[in-house]
């Protein structure tokens, strides 16, 4: 399913809401102005991505990370964004950590249930769990690398 660039504009309703919340009450925005701002926002995403990617490539990384984006903001002369972005990132990271813990807890609960149902093959299960935990530890390390 190839995506055409026309399909990749940011949703009009969201753009309109951001604009309205930024401007004082009683102010209107023409359709042409809204369309232009939406287009500008898409260009901004591409520009920021390209800039951030340069930092990633300089560091010989294939994965674009948050630090690259912050460096890009400075390069693009949007330093004023850096502090609010850092704060938002902190909140976001906490939220992600919570989600990960919830899904991990669910997985552990599921395993406990399986164990109690199979008393005869308990030894086998224990060994499997140990192997799974090792694999998980490896995965966690991988995930951390990606998220950094």
């Amino acid at each position: 399913m190839a995506e055409r660039p026309e399909d990749l504009n940011l949703p009009n309703a969201v753009i309109t809401r951001i604009i309205k919340e930024a401007l004082p009450d009683g102010v209107n925005v023409s359709k042409e102005a809204r369309r232009a701002i939406s287009q500008a926002a898409s260009v901004f995403v591409l520009y920021a991505t390209s800039c951030a990617n340069n930092f990633a490539m300089k560091a010989k990384r294939k994965t674009l990370n948050a630090g690259d984006v912050l460096a890009a903001m400075e390069e693009m002369e949007f330093e004023r964004f850096m502090e609010p972005l850092r704060e938002a990132l902190e909140v976001y990271k906490k939220g992600q950590k919570g989600k990960k813990e919830v899904s991990e807890q669910k997985r552990k609960d599921k395993e406990k249930k399986t164990d109690s149902e199979n008393d005869k093959s308990r030894e086998e299960d224990e060994e499997e769990e140990r192997m799974e935990e090792e694999a998980e530890a490896e995965n966690e390390v991988e995930e951390e690398e990606v998220e950094n």
Binding site: I37, T49, Q96
Partner: protein
């Protein structure tokens, strides 16, 4: 600052059809990332309906992360992007929209108008250094 070459590349990206198939994008992201991004997107959509929609803890970004990520992936030089980076770009874009709307509004006010018009945008882009990258990119 952007070179003419880079601007051309961006304009071409926006104008030309996207070459890489979507399954390539899927390989790049983990399933978990997709689910999390979808959950965030759903959070945004909930917010858009009903005036009584509460501000959920998950709704940190007004813009849908899957759409932002798809835009980022149109850049052929980008291989992988962490979830966090997609989020920060979404957030930065939000700040950008706020900024350009406010800066353009100054020109509308100078013209004693209460309606923001396209020419106000053009004036802001011409006058403000940070918006120089937009010159020649809008229809």
């Amino acid at each position: 600052m952007l070179t003419a070459e880079e601007k051309e590349k961006m304009a071409a990206t926006l104008a030309a059809p996207v070459a890489h198939a979507d399954h390539e994008a899927d390989r790049c992201t983990s399933e978990e990332e997709n689910r999390a991004a979808e959950a965030l997107e759903e959070g945004v959509q909930q917010q858009a309906t009903g005036p009584a929609a509460a501000v959920g803890h998950n709704r940190l970004s007004k813009l849908p992360l899957t759409r932002i990520k798809a835009l980022m992936k149109t850049d052929p030089d980008v291989s992988l992007a962490s979830q966090e980076s997609v989020f920060i770009i979404a957030k930065a874009t939000e700040l950008f929209v706020e900024m350009i709307a406010k800066d353009a509004m100054v020109y509308a006010q100078q013209g004693k108008r209460k309606t923001l018009q396209r020419k106000d945008l053009d004036n802001a882009i011409e006058a403000i250094d940070e918006f120089a990258f937009l010159e020649g990119t809008l229809d």
